[in-house]
Amino acid sequence: MIQAITEVMDQKLAEDPRVMLLGEDIGVNGGVFRATDGLVEKYGEDRVVDTPLAESGIVGTSIGLAMNGKIPIVEIQFLAFIYPAFEQVVSHAARMRYRSRGQFEVPMVIRTPYGAGIRGPELHSESVESFFAHTPGLKVVVPGSPYDAKGLLVSAIEDRDPVIFLEPTKLYRAFKEEVPEELYRVPLGKAKVVKEGTDLTIFSWGAMLREAVNAASKLEKEKGMSCEVVDLRTLYPLDRDTIIESVKKTGRAVVVHEAHKTAGLGGEVISLINDEALIYLKAPVKRITGFDVPVPMFSVEEDYMPTLERVKRGIEETVNF
């Protein structure tokens, strides 16, 4: 996945002179995950910028750059390091169009690795997508495969609104997938049915997708259950139609996410289902999520996240309700 992301930035830098990359250690070091490897050598320090160590500074100046004709692609090293920039993201990037009644806009992308499962130190494993999905004016995108990473990032860069692009660190080097060389687009706001099924729908995104798909195929083999897996891909705004259509077909659903349960997006998905498809439900929709505790030290992070077993059990409980 990381190669797909690098490729998009490379191609976009080549294609569009307005595109700039900004972040900490993204120059000669190529970024802490090497997403920008080789790009400063190719495009120079004016376009691939090693910034001072100041996240609010990076995002705040990128807002100015974006309003004045540039397309900044910001890298924040880890999602939990974005907090100093929270005000810039929430009070300014998200609201500039609104406050200026459309006179100014902030076409920028904030890329940031997120999620647990890589034995990261403290505060390197958070999954706080809800903060941003609670902020009108932002779009929140999470790719679940290398193919989608490329197509979604292209769309995010071309989008006229600020996009929070969350990259699941666990998937960076998790699997190989052939990705077309040329630029292509995967539309924002569209979920993807990863696997079709008839008994239950698993809604998920990011690194948890693998647990979802594994649980679905195991339960199919072991218990003959047919699970549909939907990758939401864009968390804000949600793809209501795909969610509702799938629930109408299967009549049961679970949401799997590694973010905390309380005020996690699972609750929002369930609310949508209640609003639009309650009468199709044969069982309550279950949330299988990270617990409501700070993401713990990595010695116990596996138990913090929904494990394959927990996902399987949640599905079985829902099917056998």
């Binding site: 070091n29 090693d50 001072p52 160590l53 907090y83 100093p84 617990f291 505790v293 116990v300």
Partner: protein, 369 residues
Amino acid sequence: MAMKSSELQKAGSWESEVFQVLNPEGKLLSELGGEIDEELMIKMYENMQFVRAFDRKSVILQRQGRIGTYAPFEGQEASQAGSAMALSDMDWMFPTYRDHAAAMIHGQEMYRVFLYWMAHMDGTTCTEGKKILPPSVPIATQLLHAVGTGWASKLDGDKDVSIAYFGDGASSEGDFHEALNFAGVFKTPTIFFCQNNGYAISVPFEKQSASRTIAQRAAAYDINGVRIDGNDIFAVYLTVKEAVERARRGEGPTLIEAVTFRYGAHTTADDPKKYRNQEEVSKEWRDNRDPLTRLNKFLTENGLWDETKEAELLSKVNAKIDEELKRAENYPKSHALQMFDHVYAETPWHIAEQREELKKYLAKDGDES
């Protein structure tokens, strides 16, 4: 690759502009005036050897997979040990993830530091009764806390001071500026101890800021600012001691910029060869400015140290490290249910329920809980 001019300049030019007592050749540049006696000098050397051996051991442990990603501090021993030795037991310390040397000299038990890098749930605790905070992972945020603890002590008429550790990169964060300003306004007994090791991961200081020094930022907030040779433990100790005394007397905060160098990587997950001429620069510092070498020279020339003592010290140090490592490795393993403890003073219903849920689940899995 030839050494970059900026690196050469960096390595060569700063010495004329810093407070230095013991030069790299091990010569005293000024009288110590009885402030550092022979016993203390030897203790300084022993402490530096102790933390260096710990650091080297940790890098090996990471390679062996016995601890997780580790942030080495080799090269910065004088800054960390010297500053911590100038504190009193009662003083508050706010270290970062690279300041375990300072923490240990201030009384943090080594096995806890090992637990931290093993990602044990108890790895963020400090020795009972100490005021050493868990290492700060976000950058510069702890500076404000050190202003707050100092502020409270001042309001209560207590005599303890607070010291916050941070690096050159942290001087770019807003919290750094807010902390200096608050400390100036409220005249808090806070010591801002910056180890300028030249690099924030890969970004050299000259790209970090157009300011020539970090110490000069103190002027903007009208607080005391000093720039010192961070590899000269005498200079570090005397400067911090003076700042501590000023703070205790109610004379407010001090910003100290200790110029030093990290010999190794930012963390074991980093490769410094990507962004600097690692071999050459590291060797340059190691050969010509090493904090241990210069004190060793001085002590040896003054008849206070010899090879026998060195060998005895190293074997003592290594035995202590092995003992603490054993203590950490024999410490009861983290249990998943520990993640639910201490979220709040009193556990709310939903966390209690989730704890039960995981407990039942683990029991089914055959895990004893």
